[in-house]
């Protein structure tokens, strides 16, 4: 008689090659796939595929626009409730990155019922539901499929006043780039999977992954933000490049001033680097140059795909220090990532 698989003890991440945003298709693949798909322009679609915006924004009236976004991925750690929380925080983040407020969400679920008990799925969904509730939004339904690999995420709808919408473009020369969460989640998750992170570093990583960007946005609103995005699958270098390109400027990234999650620099130097980081490096290498010798570990961290990353905000230099202090006062591990300047070949990224 054949033995039934021990489904109660199987790890959620067993056989997952890459979880979280490290599982996403690369930037250059996406560019070639999406080119030419958007069809006849609808002038009410005020943010979309062009300029790689974080979400679609559709103007309903002079005062109101709908934000729509979708995000899902395979498990990136074994605890199902935490996975649900992270996937939800990640999906909700795009609404904040556009300057909006989430109002409701729909679940997207793929689940192999032969490999895991339904109680595991229930915990994933609870994690997601609790995070949606924390954001002040409602879970309004969703769709689920039997599949060979677990996948979870959400489609999120938000609202924003059209004049308050934040986009990638619109940064001004001299703007300082402020990051609201430390980077290194891709590397950190590999380290967590390999049990190489100390307990404190592990819980810092999970806290960062499950943290909503709502507080960061509400602090940012007290200042004049010229451009905003959230840092996710393309890594910090990729998202900085998008902002620079959309704004017609050149970016400078300062690897010394960026905050990194605890333990990730050492992990990166030992080779705990996800495949997505190499993919991002390849996608963006034509646009990135190193102004001084930058250690490979720090380079890898710039390309490290982030899951549920922080907001990247472009703000005038005169306000930048105050914004940084205001974010830190709320307990956020914010840092200066660099700046945007005039220069030849906009969209270039110079790394210090």
């Amino acid at each position: 008689m054949s033995q039934a698989p021990d489904i109660d003890s199987k790890k959620l991440t067993a056989n997952i090659k890459a979880g979280g945003c490290a599982a996403k298709l690369g930037s250059s693949e996406l560019a070639s796939l999406l080119g030419g798909l958007s069809g006849k322009g609808d002038e009410r679609l005020i943010a979309g595929i062009e300029h790689f915006e974080d979400a679609a924004v559709y103007k309903i009236s002079e005062d109101l626009a709908i934000i729509q976004t979708v995000d899902f991925f395979p498990p990136l750690l074994d605890d199902p409730y935490t996975f649900g929380q992270i996937a939800a925080a990640n999906a909700l983040s795009d609404v904040y990155a556009m300057g909006g407020k989430p109002v409701f969400a729909l679940n997207i679920v793929c689940f192999p019922t032969c490999d895991f008990p339904l109680s595991v799925l229930k915990k994933i969904l609870e994690g997601g539901a609790d995070k949606v509730k924390e954001a002040g939004a409602s879970l309004a339904g969703g769709h689920s499929l039997e599949a060979s690999e677990p996948v979870y995420g959400l489609s999120v709808t938000g609202l924003v006043h059209p004049s308050e919408m934040l986009t990638n473009g619109g940064a001004s020369p001299g703007d300082v780039l402020i990051l609201t969460k430390p980077i290194g989640t891709g590397v950190g998750l590999l380290g967590l999977k390999g049990e190489q992170l100390e307990a404190g570093a592990g819980s810092d990583l999970v806290s960062s992954l499950t943290e909503l960007n709502d507080v960061a946005l509400s602090v940012a609103r007290r200042f004049k933000i010229n451009a905003a995005t959230d840092v996710t699958g393309f890594g910090l270098a990729g998202h900085v490049r998008e902002m620079a390109k959309a704004s017609g400027l050149v970016a400078e990234i300062d690897t010394c001033s960026i905050e990194y999650l605890p333990g990730v620099v050492e992990l990166a130097s030992q080779g705990f680097v996800p495949a997505g980081a190499y993919g991002n490096r390849q996608s963006f290498s034509d646009f990135v140059s190193y102004i001084k010798e930058v250690d490979l570990a720090y380079q890898d961290l710039l390309f490290d795909p982030q899951t549920s990353g922080g907001l990247l905000l472009a703000v005038g230099e005169e306000q930048s220090r105050e914004l940084l202090q205001a974010l830190k006062a709320e307990g956020l591990r914010a840092s200066i990532a660099g700046c945007l300047i005039e220069g030849d070949n906009p969209g270039r990224v110079k790394v210090f």
Binding site: G263, V265, Y298
Partner: protein, 209 residues
Amino acid sequence: MKKEVDLRGLVCPEPVLRTKKLLDDKSVVCIEALVETEVNVKNLERLARSQKVSMSSAPEGEHFRVTIERNGEGAQKEPAPSPGSHAHGQGASQTQTGVGTVVFLGKDYFGQGDESFSRNLLDVFLQTMLDSGHLPRAILMANTGVKLLARDSSCRKVLADFKEAGCDVLACGLCVDFYGLKDDIDKDDITNMFAICEYMMTADKVLSP
């Protein structure tokens, strides 16, 4: 001892993890591994570099053969990226203390111009340096520079932050006495001209704004 391992089909970070565990055993001097992807090869290259062992690789059919060799006695584990050979300091802490840069503040203002503006500018300079993460090894104060540590100085907080970040913040004792600031300044922050000379002579770079 030589170890041969087949790391094909393993999901990240298993290939790096298993190789690292093998290298932790100092009796292992050579590892021959078969890996599946270029990403595996690149990750093992990084591991080899951090463990100060040599590595070569070559495609073999649909996979890659990787050879790692421990060179000679005392092949030490390399610490997180160090400031000597690279651009960054210890990896563990986010702000990196640059070895060899010393800031000398011989006056309590920055540049020449309007007095109050110039004093405020020094505060801005120090705050900017702190925020940038480019920390000097030490900040030395002499002559009117010691006034920056006075109880009523607006720079006192930022200098305390530098100290907390691991920077040496020191004021010349002669100057502290001359300006009557002995009660204002912590004993630990007072130094003498000899130490100031030592710092300056051994520094790679002395900044004097």
